[in-house]
């Protein structure tokens, strides 16, 4: 057991040559929570996810994921976590069912139980009529749905979602939001969500961390961040914390 804490990091750092992608990240994410990780492009969100999911070694610092030390228990961590990567690496010549079967097999699952689960997930995501078509003919939103299904297929305790709704239409986004909510509430699944969409984070997440230039610059529940920033919503609070006030006059200066 891991004392109700899904992720715990201590002074986590990642450097790529001269670039300091993650700086002294110290963080705690509770079990069953929906943690929103916000930040500008290149702030270090994806690098953090890659480190926490065991795909990348940190330059320094320690972390535990679901109570397991990251440095020594990578395989065990992978078995109980799911990752939706930022860039979709789908197999274009497989159908949705075949791809999910492949992911299931990589996680050591197969047979009727897996097939039934695949059918039901694809039905929830509205892909049942296209489930036997090759993925090469899918739109980017449909591919994203397949990837989301692949991430939760093996019932992970902790799910890393990197920009989960970036390519989805509003109704598909709504389904994903509900899916996250119900999985967190009913099964205690923890979600670590990287996103640029503040409205999505405001709707879904109960805790927010804002990272800028590799450093965690804000952490807390959504309401608390809005309140301490004296902002009207999360987007406004984000802009105040990270910077990026819009100068309306400058917007026409290029003409």
């Amino acid at each position: 057991m891991y004392n109700g804490v899904s992720i715990e990091t201590q002074k986590l750092n990642k450097q790529f040559g001269p670039v300091h992608a993650v700086r002294n990240l110290t963080l705690q994410v509770r079990e069953g929570s929906r943690f929103g990780f916000l930040g500008p492009n290149g702030a270090g969100k994806t690098t953090t996810v890659r480190i926490l999911s065991g795909l990348m070694k940190p330059s320094s610092g320690t972390a535990t994921v679901c109570g397991l030390p990251l440095a020594s228990k990578r395989n065990e961590i992978k078995a109980i976590t799911g990752l939706l990567p930022e860039t979709p690496g789908l197999y274009s010549k497989l159908s949705a069912v075949e791809f999910l079967e492949f992911i299931g097999a990589l996680n050591g699952r197969n047979g009727k139980a897996l097939n039934g689960r695949i059918d039901r997930l694809l039905a929830i995501l509205g892909l049942e009529s296209r489930q036997d078509d090759l993925l090469e003919s899918y739109s980017s939103g449909m591919k994203q749905k397949v990837l989301i299904a692949s991430t939760i297929l093996h019932e992970p305790k902790l799910v890393f979602l990197d920009e989960p709704t970036a390519r989805l239409d509003p109704s598909a986004s709504a389904i994903v939001k509900e899916l996250i909510g119900i999985l967190a509430e009913s099964t205690g699944t923890t979600f670590f969500i990287c996103t640029h969409q503040t409205s999505f984070a405001e709707d879904v997440c109960d805790q927010i961390g804002i990272i800028n230039e590799g450093q965690l610059v804000a952490l807390g529940p959504v309401e608390e961040l809005i309140e301490t920033s004296k902002a009207k919503d999360l987007e406004n609070a984000y802009l105040q914390i990270v910077g990026g006030k819009v100068d309306r006059e400058a917007l026409l200066a290029w003409r």
Binding site: R74, E76, K78, Y91, S92, L94, A105, L106, E136, S137
Partner: protein, 564 residues
């Protein structure tokens, strides 16, 4: 306002010279200036000095005067291949319809795209020719003592030939790209076509080499005369002869006339007509055949039906999640046109190479009893290894680095994935070794025992090559597509590594013999003279299994490690 074709040409030029973007203009001027100095002074001087050290010039002169027409045709043929097929093959592996969308949404006519992309390619290909052509021509300039006007006319002819070829290459590339469109399916088809083009360039080459006499007899003329690369070659030969200062007599010229058949006027007319027709076809067809349209072919939806009997059988034998992985790997491999093209390429090479080799042995008459078994075994091993290394490396193992995250994020996913890919490869290798083994047996009129040996030897060689190529790709899976340097490095290392490992025992024995080390004698004392080819084959095969296994082990471990 700049013309639209000019803007496209500029962008194309900037892309092709991006590696020197910080001082592009200065570098290009320097390259051009040095190229001219190279072409006019350095290349003739260097070639003259080097050849003078190897052979007495008088002897060389006689040789060069004799081989001029044939040599020039061969040079132009390779130049034609280089600037027609290679850009075409490369371009097909990177469909750029996304750029087309941007251009056409800015109201650019397809004719502008065609002209712009053509002109943009000229500087780099022009420089390539400026650096590569002079060493070939310099020899003849020296041997024939060609006047300066003659040299200028030769480079002018070469320039026209290069321009028309690049135009033709550009025209075909743009047309195919427009028809295939940008979709995963279109990209896969284009990739497959790109690889097949390499076969298209190999087959005629060997066809011309070995069957030109037969074709000529049927057609009633020198078969080379119908190929466009012959016309500029013959014009260049004629200019070399007519502007020579070595005092060629009318008898000499008559001999050249008999070899070349067409006189300078006909060859020049044919070259000019070819260039004109290419340009006219391009301009006339631009706005018709290049209408941007992602056709039904690329947007076609393929729905998967039930699994065939082989896949069902595999599932029964290998039940559990690993069986599922294995079946998925087989499905993924066989559904890609590019993989099938690679297999076709490998098999064709595996048949063509032994065929050429036996023809050469017969022509040279090295082995009066039939063929030299050592050469046959060597070439069979090389050919079979090509199938394994070429068809299973790079994208055949993993489409791109994006897939890595998904596979690596599962527990022991990479190891299980590599194992599944490897066993899938071993299964695919079973039918692959049959065709070349049969073909080689027929070519060398071998016995059933020869067929049996080639089947077992070929299968193990292909499996060794698959292990090696999988290991190398697993060591460096960080590529975006087949054009990326990482991917090309993988394919090169795989092909060279496999071939070197197979040939290493023979090479080590030969060098050992020179150095006084008795490897050769030891093998002969064990296997006997007649058994030596087979002994070397078996040693090479074992070496490949060891090296391939090592590469696989290291690659799999590296792939399973988190990124540093």
């Amino acid at each position: 306002m700049a013309s639209k074709w000019y803007s496209i040409a500029k962008a194309e030029y900037q892309v092709s010279t991006s590696s020197m973007r910080k001082s592009r203009t200065r570098n290009m001027i320097l390259l051009l200036a040095f190229g001219l100095v190279w072409a006019i002074f350095l290349a003739p001087f260097m070639i003259g000095t080097i050849t003078g050290l190897i052979l007495p010039f008088e002897f060389l002169q006689i040789l060069l005067v004799t081989i001029l027409p044939g040599f020039m045709r061969a040079v132009m043929f390779f130049l034609w291949m280089m600037i027609l097929i290679i850009p075409l093959s490369r371009a097909l592996q990177e469909i750029k319809i996304g750029q087309w969308e941007i251009l056409l949404s800015n109201d650019v006519r397809t004719r502008d795209i065609l002209i712009g992309s053509f002109l943009g390619k000229l500087p780099i290909y022009g420089l390539l020719v400026l650096y590569l052509a002079p060493p070939f021509f310099a020899l003849f300039f020296l041997a024939f003592e060609v006047t300066l006007i003659g040299q200028i006319l030769i480079y002018l002819t070469l320039f026209i030939a290069v321009l028309s070829t690049i135009w033709l290459s550009n025209l075909i590339t743009v047309a195919i790209q427009a028809k295939l469109g940008e979709s995963p399916r279109g990209k896969d088809i284009a990739n497959g076509v790109g690889i097949l083009l390499a076969i298209v360039s190999i087959i005629p080459m060997y066809g011309i080499m070995f069957f030109s006499l037969q074709f000529s007899a049927i057609l009633g003329l020198n078969v080379f005369l119908i190929f466009p690369f012959t016309w500029p070659a013959d014009v260049i030969s004629w200019i070399t002869i007519l502007f020579s200062q070595i005092g060629l007599t009318s008898n000499h010229i008559l001999i050249f006339q008999q070899t070349l058949q067409f006189d300078i006027n006909i060859s020049t007319t044919l070259l000019s007509l070819f260039a004109a027709v290419c340009i006219i076809i391009g301009l006339a067809s631009a706005d018709r055949i290049f209408t941007y349209n992602i056709g039904a072919r690329t947007e076609q939806i393929t729905t998967i039906k039930g699994e065939n009997v082989i896949l069902r059988g595999i599932r029964k034998v290998a039940s559990g999640s690993f069986g599922t992985l294995l079946v998925t790997c087989l499905k993924d491999f066989f559904r890609k046109a590019s993989n099938l093209s690679r297999i076709a390429y490998g098999i064709i090479l595996a048949i063509v190479l032994p065929f050429i080799m036996t023809q050469m042995i017969l022509i040279v008459g090295r082995d009066s009893g039939g063929v030299d078994m050592m050469m046959v075994v060597m070439i069979s091993g090389i050919s079979m290894a090509l199938i394994g290394s070429f068809a299973f490396s790079g994208t055949a193992f993993m489409e791109s680095k994006d897939q890595l995250w998904i596979i690596q994020s599962t527990p022991s996913g990479t190891t299980r994935y590599v194992k599944a890919r490897l066993i899938a490869g071993f299964l695919i290798a079973l039918p692959l070794c049959i065709i070349p083994a049969l073909a080689i047996t027929i070519i060398i009129t071998g016995t059933l025992a020869t067929l049996g040996f080639l089947l077992i030897y070929g299968y193990i060689i292909i499996c060794g090559a698959i292990m090696f190529s999988t290991g190398v790709t697993a060591l460096n899976p960080y590529y975006e597509d087949t054009k990326s340097p990482e991917h090309q490095m993988n394919v090169m290392v795989t092909t060279m590594g496999v071939e070197f490992t197979i040939l290493a025992p023979i090479m080590i024995s030969l060098f050992g013999d020179i150095l006084g080390l008795p490897f050769w004698d030891i093998i002969r004392s064990i296997a006997g003279s007649a058994g030596m080819p087979f002994a070397f084959a078996i040693i090479g095969m074992v070496a490949l299994l060891i090296v391939g296994g090592g590469a696989l082990l290291i690659g799999t471990r590296r792939l399973a490690q988190p990124e540093v």
